[in-house]
């Protein structure tokens, strides 16, 4: 299986690559449109902010390339937020692959922003990406912005407010948390994404 990691400049690219290696997959880090188009699986990692994240994709002339991906595509953390229409962060136009606008976590008494740490997942509907991930499973989150809940939400999590933790729109999946750093739960999600049974 050909798995590519889009060279989006995010600082977690190394971690994602190692997580895939632990699952026996040697993912290729690339910004080459042809390599991306011919891959079996495409992962858009990302740590940082929406503005620079999209600027980087534009600079690499990858915006239309990513929009045209028909194979399973997984956005991780900022990579998931970039899949949406837009983000309040730097008032950024994003990829428009999933409807909705990403906004800042409200925070509040005892609710620290950024959210940093392990939080529980509440699956809303069945999906092959979350196969074997039980209600209450915990994953590692680090973020200040959240995607809204909607028809595409597969699982939610809560930090002062409920937000989309895992989404799917057609061939695009996204995880707000870091599967590469979420121990067995994260490995399961990545394994499902790589599986032939992903549907």
């Amino acid at each position: 299986m050909q798995v590519v990691l889009i060279d989006s400049g995010g600082a977690n690219i190394g971690s994602v690559k190692y997580a895939l290696e632990r699952l026996g997959v040697n993912a290729q880090l690339t910004a080459d449109p042809q390599v991306i188009a011919s891959a079996d699986r495409v992962i858009l990692p990302g740590v940082g902010a929406a503005g620079p994240g999209m600027a980087r994709l534009r600079e690499l002339e990858l915006v239309d390339v990513v929009r045209a991906v028909r194979q399973p595509l997984l956005g991780v953390c900022l990579g998931m937020q970039l899949l949406f229409d837009s983000s309040e962060e730097d008032d950024t136009q994003c990829l428009g692959l999933v409807p909705g606008r990403v906004r800042k976590l409200a925070g509040g008494q005892g609710i620290r922003v950024p959210q940093m740490g392990w939080n529980t997942l509440k699956p809303l509907r069945e999906d092959s990406l979350l196969s074997g991930v039980p209600e209450g499973a915990q994953a590692y989150f680090v973020h200040s912005y959240v995607a809204p809940m909607g028809e595409d939400t597969l699982a939610t999590s809560s930090h002062g407010e409920e937000f989309a933790a895992v989404v799917r729109h057609g061939n695009c999946w996204g995880a707000q948390f870091h599967p590469e750093r979420s121990a067995a739960v994260g490995a399961k999600l990545l394994e499902n994404f790589l599986s032939e049974r992903l549907a």
């Binding site: 190394g14 971690s15 940082g48 620290r112 989150f141 750093r181 490995a187």
Partner: protein, 258 residues
């Protein structure tokens, strides 16, 4: 609901994990990877690696062991030690560190915090603060604490620095209470409570853990987001699975690493 984090801290010197008492007299505790894997298996929520001689020696933490850790570990980890600019941080983050922590270099040049936050986002920028109460009752920051012969007291009030660091872009604060470090009499609750009032980002307590009860106390009484400890974990005096069981029995939310 967000869990409270249990964070073993590994002080690294010359590629080995060491531990001192009150930041002095370091003894060898073992191999980095071996300890990292042990804590991962036991259910640690995160690891922190401090290259304790990096800053005093004017160099950055070594990327080679960071990469080795990143390959085998599937929980987040933070690296600290001699990170002086965006390039230093980039090398360590690209090697696989999830967060980087700055201490002495940020005191020398506070603008560093903002530069790092702009480059990588606030979520991976941790500011470590070494603090000690002076004779006049005021908490003040220390620098170069990795090397006792070079450790320096600054005029900067710790609480002022906590506020300033957040304004500059710190995504998390680790408060090392030097007066209670290594003596296992419990976290410095008075100091941590004072910081909590001024700290809107995640706050990690460090220094003084001796019993499971100390962890419960610091979560309940100082409302910290995570508790960091070294010697009690290295020595086996506290085992993480039992610690988490005890916290759960007291209705403190912790991750079940099953």
């Amino acid at each position: 609901m967000l869990s409270r984090r249990i964070i073993p801290c590994l002080d690294v010197r010359d590629g080995r994990v060491v531990k001192g008492v009150k930041f002095r007299d370091h003894v060898d505790m073992g191999d980095i990877l071996e300890l990292a894997l042990r804590y991962r298996d036991e259910g640690a929520d995160e690891l922190v690696f401090y290259d304790i001689t990096a800053s005093p020696e004017g160099r950055r933490a070594d990327r080679s062991w960071v990469e080795r850790v990143a390959r085998v570990i599937d929980i987040p980890f933070c690296v600290a030690g001699g990170i002086r600019d965006v390039e230093d941080a980039r090398v360590l983050l690209y090697a696989g560190a999830d967060k980087i922590s700055v201490n002495t270099p940020a005191l020398e040049r506070p603008g560093l915090i903002g530069e790092l936050a702009a480059a990588f986002g606030v979520q991976c920028i941790v500011v470590g603060i070494d603090s000690l109460r002076d004779e006049d009752g005021e908490w003040r920051v220390r620098q170069y604490t990795g090397d006792p012969s070079r450790t320096r007291a600054l005029a900067k009030r710790m609480l002022d620095w906590v506020v300033e660091a957040q304004q500059l872009g710190a995504g998390e604060i680790v408060l090392n209470c030097m007066g209670s470090d290594g003596v296992r009499n419990g976290y410095d609750l008075v100091q941590l409570r004072a910081v909590r009032k001024l700290c809107d980002v995640p706050l990690i307590a460090s220094g003084g853990a001796g019993t499971a009860g100390h962890f419960a106390q610091v979560f309940r009484d100082a409302d910290v987001d995570g508790a960091l400890a070294a010697s009690v974990f290295h020595s086996g005096a506290i085992r993480i699975p039992e610690l988490k069981r005890s916290l759960r029995e007291q209705d403190i939310e912790v991750r079940d690493a099953g």
